[in-house]
């Protein structure tokens, strides 16, 4: 953030004008959200001015991103009430043979912040397998949506594709080799869910950031 930050002994705080400019909203919008939702309540300075810390600014950024994607302000605040990602990436991918490669690239923009080559490799693998599945089983003319969020010690990958209800059992009846990508996901993930309905399928995967064992550092961890 380039606008004026107020330095205290330990961390920087940001005034409402700076935060509003970064988010592209009016200061009055931030005051309204504060009053209405009580999620982001800034500290007050000596003269009563609002002072936002870095975590509050991250949450506001997340709220604004959700709103830009079409969420209502209330829903966006609900979504931002949990852990706030350190980094996020959202891409819409054409459902082509090139989509898994582009998914890996999108993951890299987020994963490099973790500074862990092994974790980045697993994250890229999970994303590319999910996107590959979406290419195979989704609707050819509808884009595939990929969201990657990096948190302190885990990451979340979410892939959505349009299409009919997904059933692994039915899929395997037709083609025994189908669904192998999900086996890799299952082997690497801490948790994963699949939400499939008449209009599409969303797979959400949580991947833990496990450090490499002592004495074996990877090139990205140096």
């Amino acid at each position: 953030m380039t606008a004026r930050a107020v330095a205290t002994g330990r961390e920087a705080f940001f005034e409402i004008g700076a935060v509003a400019r970064e988010l592209g909203v009016a200061p009055s919008t931030l005051r309204t959200w504060e009053r209405r939702y009580r999620l982001i309540v800034p500290l007050r300075g000596a003269s009563g001015q609002r002072l936002y810390d870095a975590d509050q600014v991250r949450r506001l950024r997340l709220i604004q991103t959700q709103i830009r994607r079409g969420a209502r302000a209330g829903a966006a605040h609900n979504a931002a009430s949990g852990p706030v990602p350190l980094r996020s990436e959202h891409v819409e991918l054409e459902p082509s043979a090139d989509a898994p490669r582009r998914a890996r690239q999108a993951v890299d923009t987020v994963a490099e912040a973790a500074g862990n080559g092994r974790f980045s490799f697993f994250l890229r693998l999970v994303a590319s397998e999910l996107v590959n599945n979406a290419v195979m089983h989704g609707v050819a003319r509808e884009p595939i949506s990929l969201d990657v969020d990096l948190f302190d010690d885990w990451a979340q990958v979410r892939v959505r594709n349009a299409g009919g209800r997904f059933s692994l059992r039915n899929l395997r009846k037709r083609r025994p080799s189908a669904g192998r990508g999900l086996e890799i996901v299952d082997a690497l993930a801490e948790a994963w869910t699949i939400d499939s309905g008449p209009f599409g399928t969303t797979v959400t995967v949580r991947l833990p950031l496990e450090r490499a064992p002592q004495g074996f550092e990877t090139s990205a961890e140096r």
């Binding site: 898994p100 490669r101 890996r104 080559g117 092994r118 490799f121 697993f122 890229r124 693998l125 590319s128 397998e129 080799s177 192998r180 086996e183 890799i184 299952d186 082997a187 690497l188 064992p213 004495g215 074996f216 550092e217 990877t218 090139s219 140096r222």
Partner: protein, 121 residues
């Protein structure tokens, strides 16, 4: 140059070695899942990912579980699709239609051993 597994190697060689070791780790987890689900049946077939150096290669291959276990007793050995070996730093021990077994040479072998999950435990 990079230090990988305590060795100094070119960045490219180190990255390739890392990819192979991480694919091996994926396969170890796939095997664990299979054992949890079905128990140990030496006659069963395990579906794994090619452990070659190319990250984009996620080709699948089927290997008898007993053979997979035999390969894993050698921390320098990897299981690849035939034709995926990098002969600059690994040699082909056996090759069939479905898979090839390769063994690392030189520094790559020491690094592969250092990264072996079974050697660490």
């Amino acid at each position: 140059m990079s230090a990988w597994g305590g060795l100094t190697m070119t960045d490219r060689a180190a990255r390739k070695g890392e990819n192979e070791s991480w694919f091996r780790e994926v396969n170890e987890r796939l095997e664990n899942r299979a054992l949890e689900a079905r128990g140990f049946d030496p006659g069963a077939t395990l579906e794994i990912v090619c452990e070659c150096a190319r990250e984009e290669c996620t080709e699948r291959l089927a290997i008898p579980l007993a053979e997979y276990e035999r390969v894993r007793t050698n921390p320098r050995a990897f299981i690849l699709r035939p034709g995926h070996a990098e002969l600059a730093y690994e040699r082909v021990l056996t090759s069939g239609q479905e898979y090839a077994i390769v063994e690392k040479d030189g520094d790559a072998a020491v690094a592969a051993q250092a990264a072996d999950p079974r050697s660490r435990s």
